[in-house]
C-alpha cells in the first residue's frame, strides 16, 4: 500500500469512527422534561455586548427592558419576586413572574443593573443558592436575565461537590486535550504557535450550529462541522502559512499573522453568527442520573466517551502508523526527516487538517455542553490549550493530552473552594508555576529552551 493510500485510509477510518462514536446509543435524547442542565456561561453575552460597545451609540432608541422566564422540572414557576437595583445599589423597582413564569421590567436608562431574587414560592429553589443576584448590562432594547432554578440542592456539601467537579474536570480536560493536540503538533512540526487555533474551534461549533438550525440532526451536523474545521485548518496551511514560509517570512512575523487572522476570523464569525449564545437543538436539556457519588447526564457521559475514544485513536495513529512515525520524525528534527525522504510539507498539511478536525470536534462537544458563542475560542479555550500544552511539554502530542487533562481538573476543582469566575485564572497560575519549576513541561525532554 502506498503511503498516500495508507494515509487516506487512516483518515477515512478516523471519520467513520467519529461518526459511530457520535451516534452512540446513550446519546439518545431522554424524553423526561426539563431539568436545565444547560450551563450558563455568564461571560458569553457580556462579551458580545462589550464588543458591540466598540461601535458607540447605535441609532435605535428602544426602551431598555430586562426580562426572563422561570421554569423548573414542573414547568413555569409563578410568583418569583425580584428586586432590581442600579449600579450604585439604589433600588429601581420590583418584578414578579407571571403564570407563564415570565417577568419583565423596564429600567429607566441603559446601564448596569443587579437583579436579586427576593422570594421564591414554596418548594422552589435556585440551582445555585449563592447566586441569588445576577448583574447585567442592558443597552437599548431587551436583555434576558438568566436565573436558573432547579434541583441545585442535589449537590450539597464540599465532598459531593468535589466528586462532581472531578467528573466535570475530566470532561472539560478531555475537550481541551482534543483541541490542544493539533495546536501542539502544529508547533512541533512547524515551530509556529497558531493563535488562530481557537477560531478553528469556533468554526467547528458554529458550522455545526448552522447545519443543526437548518434541520439536520446534531450528529450529522457535527460531521459537517468537523469537516469545516478540517478544511479551515487545511486552508490556513495551504493558503497562508505554506506560501508565507516559502516567501521567507520569519517566525516572529508569522506569529503576528496568526494574531491578525484570529481577529479577522473571530469578527467575521460575529457578523455571520451574531453575538448571542445559541444552544444546539438536541441534547441541550437532559435529566440527571446518579452513578455512585457522581451526578451526571447521559450527554456528559457520551462526551467523555467520544473524547476518550478519539484521543486513544489519535495516540494509536501517532504511535503505530507509518504516518505517525513520519510526523514524530518531523517534529523531532525537520531537516533530518526531510533528508531521509519524508515529504515534510505533506506531513505538515496532514497535521493542520487533522488538528483542525480535532479542534472542531472539541468545539462541538464544548458547545453541546454549554452553548455556541462566537468567542469562546480565545477565552477560555485557547488560553487553557496554552496552559495544557506548556504544562505537558510544548510540541508533544501526549504532553498536550496529559497537560490538558490536568488543566481541566484544576479549572473545575478550583470551583469547590474558589469563585467560579476565577477558574481560568487558576489554570494559568499553574502555567506560570510550571514555567518557573520545570519549563520543559511534564513530558517534555530536557533540552535547551532558553
Amino acid at each position: 500500500m502506498s503511503a498516500r493510500a495508507r494515509a487516506s485510509a487512516l483518515s477515512v477510518t478516523f471519520l467513520v469512527g467519529l461518526l459511530l462514536a457520535l451516534a452512540a446509543p446513550a446519546f439518545a435524547e431522554t424524553a423526561a422534561p426539563v431539568l436545565l442542565a444547560q450551563e450558563d456561561d455568564a461571560d458569553a453575552d457580556e462579551d458580545a455586548d462589550a464588543d458591540a460597545d466598540a461601535a458607540e451609540g447605535e441609532a435605535a432608541a428602544d426602551p431598555s427592558v430586562l426580562f426572563g422566564t422561570f421554569r423548573n422540572a414542573d414547568g413555569p414557576v409563578e410568583g418569583v419576586q425580584l428586586s432590581i437595583a442600579d449600579s450604585s445599589g439604589q433600588a429601581v423597582g420590583e418584578a414578579t413572574s407571571g403564570p407563564n413564569g415570565q417577568w419583565e421590567f423596564e429600567v429607566p436608562e441603559p446601564g448596569d443593573y443587579a437583579v436579586t431574587v427576593e422570594a421564591l414560592p414554596e418548594g422552589v429553589e435556585l440551582r445555585d443558592p449563592e447566586a441569588s443576584t445576577v448583574e447585567v448590562t442592558v443597552g437599548e432594547g431587551r436583555r434576558a436575565v438568566p436565573i436558573p432554578l432547579g434541583e441545585g440542592a442535589a449537590v450539597s456539601g464540599k465532598v459531593a461537590l468535589f466528586f462532581q467537579q472531578i467528573l466535570s474536570g475530566i470532561r472539560f480536560g478531555l475537550i481541551i486535550a482534543m483541541t490542544a493536540v493539533g495546536l501542539s503538533l502544529i508547533f512541533g512540526t512547524t515551530g509556529l504557535i497558531n493563535f488562530a487555533h481557537g477560531e478553528i474551534v469556533i468554526i467547528g461549533a458554529v458550522a455545526t450550529w448552522f447545519a443543526n438550525a437548518a434541520g439536520l440532526h446534531l450528529v450529522f451536523a457535527a460531521v459537517l462541522g468537523v469537516i469545516a474545521a478540517a478544511l479551515s485548518g487545511g486552508i490556513l496551511d495551504r493558503g497562508v502559512f505554506r506560501p508565507l514560509t516559502r516567501r521567507g517570512v520569519g517566525l516572529f512575523q508569522l506569529l503576528v499573522v496568526t494574531i491578525g487572522l484570529s481577529l479577522v476570523m473571530r469578527f467575521i464569525i460575529l457578523i455571520v453568527f451574531g453575538g448571542r449564545a445559541q444552544p444546539y437543538s438536541q441534547y441541550a436539556v437532559q435529566q440527571r442520573i446518579s452513578l455512585g457519588p457522581f451526578q451526571t447526564t447521559p450527554r456528559d457521559l457520551v462526551v467523555i466517551a467520544i473524547a476518550t475514544v478519539v484521543l486513544i485513536a489519535v495516540a494509536t495513529a501517532i504511535q503505530r502508523s507509518r504516518f505517525g512515525k513520519a510526523m514524530r520524525a518531523v517534529a523531532d528534527n525537520r531537516d533530518l526527516a526531510e533528508s531521509s525522504g519524508i515529504d515534510v510539507e505533506r506531513v505538515v498539511s496532514v497535521v493542520w487538517i487533522a488538528g483542525g478536525a480535532l479542534a472542531g470536534l472539541g468545539g462541538i462537544l464544548y458547545a453541546t455542553l454549554f452553548r455556541v458563542t462566537y468567542d469562546f475560542g480565545f477565552q477560555p479555550m485557547l488560553l487553557l490549550m496554552f496552559a495544557g500544552i506548556i504544562l505537558g511539554g510544548l510540541g508533544t502530542a501526549y504532553g498536550a493530552m496529559v497537560g490538558s487533562l490536568v488543566v481541566g481538573l484544576v479549572t473545575e476543582l478550583s470551583v469547590v473552594y474558589f469563585p467560579n469566575e476565577l477558574k481560568t485564572a487558576w489554570a494559568l497560575g499553574v502555567l506560570v508555576i510550571v514555567l518557573l519549576v520545570r519549563p520543559q513541561g511534564l513530558l517534555g525532554r530536557r533540552e535547551r529552551i532558553g
Binding site: 481577529l263 488560553l383 506548556i390 469566575e421
Partner: protein
Amino acid sequence: MDLEAILGTALRSAVGPQAAVYALLAIGLNVHYGYTGLLNFGQVGFMLVGAYGLGISVATWGLSLWAGIVVGLIAGVLLALLLGAPTLRLRADYFAITTIAVAEVLRLVFRSSPATPITGGPFGLQSIANEFYALNPLTRGIRLGPFTYSVNVSWSLIVTWALVLLATILVTLLVRSPWGRVLRSIREDEDAARALGKNVFSYKMQSLVLGGVLGSVGGIMFAIAGSTVNADAFRPQITFFAYAILILGGAATRIGPIVGAIIFWFLFSGVQGLVRDAQGADLLPGVLSGANAVGASALILMGTALVLLVVFRPQGIFGDLRELKLDA
C-alpha cells in the same frame, strides 16, 4: 452618506486623547518588540494595572491623584518583574504565550465579583480624575478646523500628547545610548550578545520594565480621559491594535508609533462611520446590517491590515528593513 461628517469624526479621533493613549502603548511596545525583539502580547495588561492602580488608589482608598499615579507606575514595574522572572530566560514563544495569558487573567480577576469591594467588579470604578480636571488651566476647548473638543477633553488631550512627546524623547535618547545598542544586539543575535559578556536576561528585564511602565502611563491617561476604569475596556484586542500601530508606523523608529496611532485611529473610526452610515442608507447586504457589524467590520479591517503589513511591508511606513531582521 455624509462624507464630510465621517471625515470630521475620523480626524477628531485621530488626534484625540485615545490616539495619544495608543501611541503611548505602541511606544512601550516599540521598546519591547522594535528594539529588544521581545514578543509581548500582553501590553494591555500593563495598561490595566496602570489604570487600576490609579483608580483603586483614588476611588477605593481615597488617596490623591498623585499618589494614584505613583501606585499605577509601581504596579507596571511589578507586573514586568513578575512576568519577566519566569519567562525571559525561555524561548520567545513561551514569553508570548505567558504575556497574552496573564493579561487576560488580570482582566478576569479585576472584573470578578469577589474583587468588587476593591475594583468595583463588573461595574468598574467611577469619578477617579476629578483632581486632574480641577487642575485644568484652559477656559475653553481647543478648536481644530471644523470640530471642537470640550474643555476637559482638550486638557487630557494636551497632557497625553505631551507625555507621548516626552516618552518619544526618552526612548530615543535611551536607545541611542550604549544601553540601547545592547538591546538591539540582543534583538539581532542574543547569543552573540551573551558571548560578549552582556547579561541578556537583565537587559531584557530592563527593557520589559521600561516598555511596561510606558504602557502603564498609557493606562493611567486612559483612565483619566474617561474618569473611569472598567475591566472590559482592557481586552486582548488592544494589544493587537498597538501592534498594528507599531508595524504601520514602523517598528524601531522614533515617530513610527505616533504616526501609526494617528493613521490607525483615523481609519478605525472612519471605517466605523462609513459602515454605520451605509447601514442607515441601506447600502449593505443583510449580513452587515446588524448592530455588531459596525465594530466588527472595523476589527476585521484592522486584522487584515495587520496581516498584510507584516507580510508585505514589515518595516511599515518609516522603518528600515535592515533594522528588523527579527527571527526566533
